[in-house]
């Protein structure tokens, strides 16, 4: 069965397109996140996707709180560069 793509777009509607856009954006953010150095990515993932505080992350990983803060700060700056430029390392 051949279906006109334009008809499908009409069925999806504005809400559907917005949803797909947000999903694509989420995918690109996570792709950028995955390209960070492991130590930075790990701290950011635990903070945002596992709902852990920096103090809890330090305890979980057995590293000083200051190290977690530094890793997150550097990782967030790099992540911002990646998503703004749409680049991947």
């Amino acid at each position: 069965v051949v279906v006109d793509v334009n008809q499908l777009r009409g069925l999806v509607g504005e809400d559907g397109r917005e949803l797909v856009e947000r999903l694509a954006w989420a995918s690109e953010v996570k792709e950028a996140l995955a390209s960070l150095p492991d130590s930075q990515r790990e701290s950011i993932e635990l903070s945002y996707f596992a709902d852990r505080t920096q103090t809890q992350i330090a305890s979980d990983l057995g590293i000083p709180l200051g190290t977690v803060k530094a890793r997150m700060a550097r990782g967030m700056q790099r992540l911002a560069e990646l998503v703004e430029k749409g680049e991947r390392t």
Partner: protein, 240 residues
């Protein structure tokens, strides 16, 4: 001028600083263009991560519910790492522009009014359980954390490991739920080469297990646990 506050910025945006710390950071940001500029970058990353988190939560993590391409008949919960990234090239420039401008504008306002307002964050699903994974048949420096978040009746387990050596050729790491009292096990899926994985599990099934295990498996078609556990730890429920 006081000491730079760049390392405090992520905690500022996630609401982890106390009143005094927040006021100290605010006072510094008013005087320091360098740290104010850093805040823009941190806020762009923060907003992007929150948007990703919100999109996944809204869809109840559908990507993690699809069967894994490998061993789908034995692994009912697919790892997100195995899914191809969703791309939408035509929408990318506008989306980027909107998101970046929106967050950057929020930051400019934030700095201008002296941190009189805070960036909004969606309420994340609560962590219902945590497992600290200790090394078994692995280097002593290897460790991991599994956190479980509840979204409706779905439990989402995020496994993050550190210090595991790369799996040998034709081998892979697999994440299991384990009930030590009966040795009952359930394969969740493969750990990505990055050492992490995310898995969706139904609440009633999750309740039948009290530990998390990571094994080193040979890619020989045998779906059973290899009996080579590299990391393992008990699941500890968190208070609501």
């Amino acid at each position: 001028m006081t000491e730079h506050v760049d390392v405090q910025l992520p905690a500022l945006l996630t609401g982890e600083l106390g009143r005094d710390e927040t006021m100290e950071v605010a006072a510094h940001l008013r005087e320091c263009p360098t740290c104010a500029s850093e805040l823009v970058g941190t806020a762009v990353a923060h907003g992007s991560l929150e948007a990703a988190l919100r999109a996944e939560a809204e869809l109840s993590l559908p990507a993690q519910g699809r069967p894994a391409p490998l061993r789908a008949e034995h692994s009912p919960f697919a790892s997100q790492e195995d899914q191809p990234p969703l791309r939408l090239a035509s929408a990318t420039p506008h989306r980027h522009l909107r998101a970046v401008l929106a967050v950057a504008a929020a930051v400019i306002v934030l700095v201008a009014v002296g941190l009189g307002i805070t960036l909004s964050s969606p309420a994340p699903a609560p962590v219902s359980a945590v497992a600290a994974l200790q090394h078994m048949d692995a280097p002593s420096t290897a460790s991991g954390v599994a956190t479980v978040r509840s979204i409706g009746t779905t439990r989402t387990m995020v496994v993050t490991t550190a210090g595991l050596p790369a799996a040998p050729t034709n081998h892979y790491y697999e994440v299991w739920l384990l009930e030590p009292s009966t040795n009952k096990m359930l394969a969740l899926g493969l750990l990505a080469p990055s050492g992490r994985g995310s898995f969706a599990v139904s609440g009633p099934i999750m309740a039948q297990f009290s530990a998390v295990d990571i094994s080193l498996q040979a890619n020989n078609g045998n779906p059973a646990h290899s009996k080579t556990s590299v990391l393992r730890g008990p699941v500890v429920a968190q208070r609501a």
